[in-house]
Symmetry: C2
Subunit: 158 residues, 2 copies
Amino acid sequence: MERDFLKELEFLGVTARLKRLSDNLSYSIKDLYQQKDLDIEPSWHLVILLLKKQESSTMSEIADLLQLSQAAATKMLNKMIQKGYLISVRDEKDNRKKMIQLSDKAKLELPKFEKVWNAGQSSIRDILQSNTDFLNNLSDFEDKLKEKSFQQRALEHL
Amino acid sequence: MERDFLKELEFLGVTARLKRLSDNLSYSIKDLYQQKDLDIEPSWHLVILLLKKQESSTMSEIADLLQLSQAAATKMLNKMIQKGYLISVRDEKDNRKKMIQLSDKAKLELPKFEKVWNAGQSSIRDILQSNTDFLNNLSDFEDKLKEKSFQQRALEHL
DNA sequence: TATATTTGCTTAACCAGTTAAGTAAATATT
DNA sequence: AATATTTACTTAACTGGTTAAGCAAATATA
């Protein structure tokens, strides 16, 4: 077993390990898409699945549900529009809003996408098979941070 | 309780949740540093703690131990040098290598840094107090990915 | 009714990471 | 001894996030 400096750091390494894990998965998904000739980015599946479920949504609402800043949502959604996966229609009642929907291209390619996403889902299931508490632990971590931010907790320790 | 779309996605949302959690922590740490007037970035503590432990190291070795690409290490380390926290000396035996060490400034400010890092460590400890398995579950996830990448697993499901 | 505030989206400048291509020094090979 | 390969670091172009500032439309207020 080789040395793992981040593990050596124990509590001081947790943040970095979470980042490493998250990055590892993202780049792995990117590779997978490339290999399967899907011209999409990791994280786009969130938008597509959301719009499959609820047909149409505004940029702000998508930002909200995905817990991104509006600026991040703007960039991602405009790129998806530019790639032809989404269409945006100005809301007639409120001219500021852009209603976002799946394009015909997206609907057409959806089955191909879902095949790959389901394989990804199975992989996560595999990984967590012997690790049944992981999702609960993750939720617990999320809940704790929602209760009180890391920053606030740290300030109280100073 | 408000809606959490990422949780609704179950296994398809895990990656995004890990990213969200990791980002949340990073930006929280950034805020904390700003508030405590520490002119460092999140993740720099990894380098400083490493060099406190082992005095001197090359860029490649640091990249390796932190599990970053060499390009990422170059950028980070050069910025830290530029900020005056590190010094780099060319290895006399091998002129390609740059030996990296803590500067006097870094050593001087170390106690101030460590106070904040310890508070951060305590916060993580708090958060994980009722969640004793988290670190083990995290290790398990990491180990599983080391055994076989996400991508490879997904390909086997296709 | 005119003005002030809020809301929805955009843009700019920054953060941290990646891969790919490039340079120069050390090492291996022929 | 000359050439080819590997190694250490750098740079460029891209990913996807952030905050801050700005614009225009809708809404609230005086």
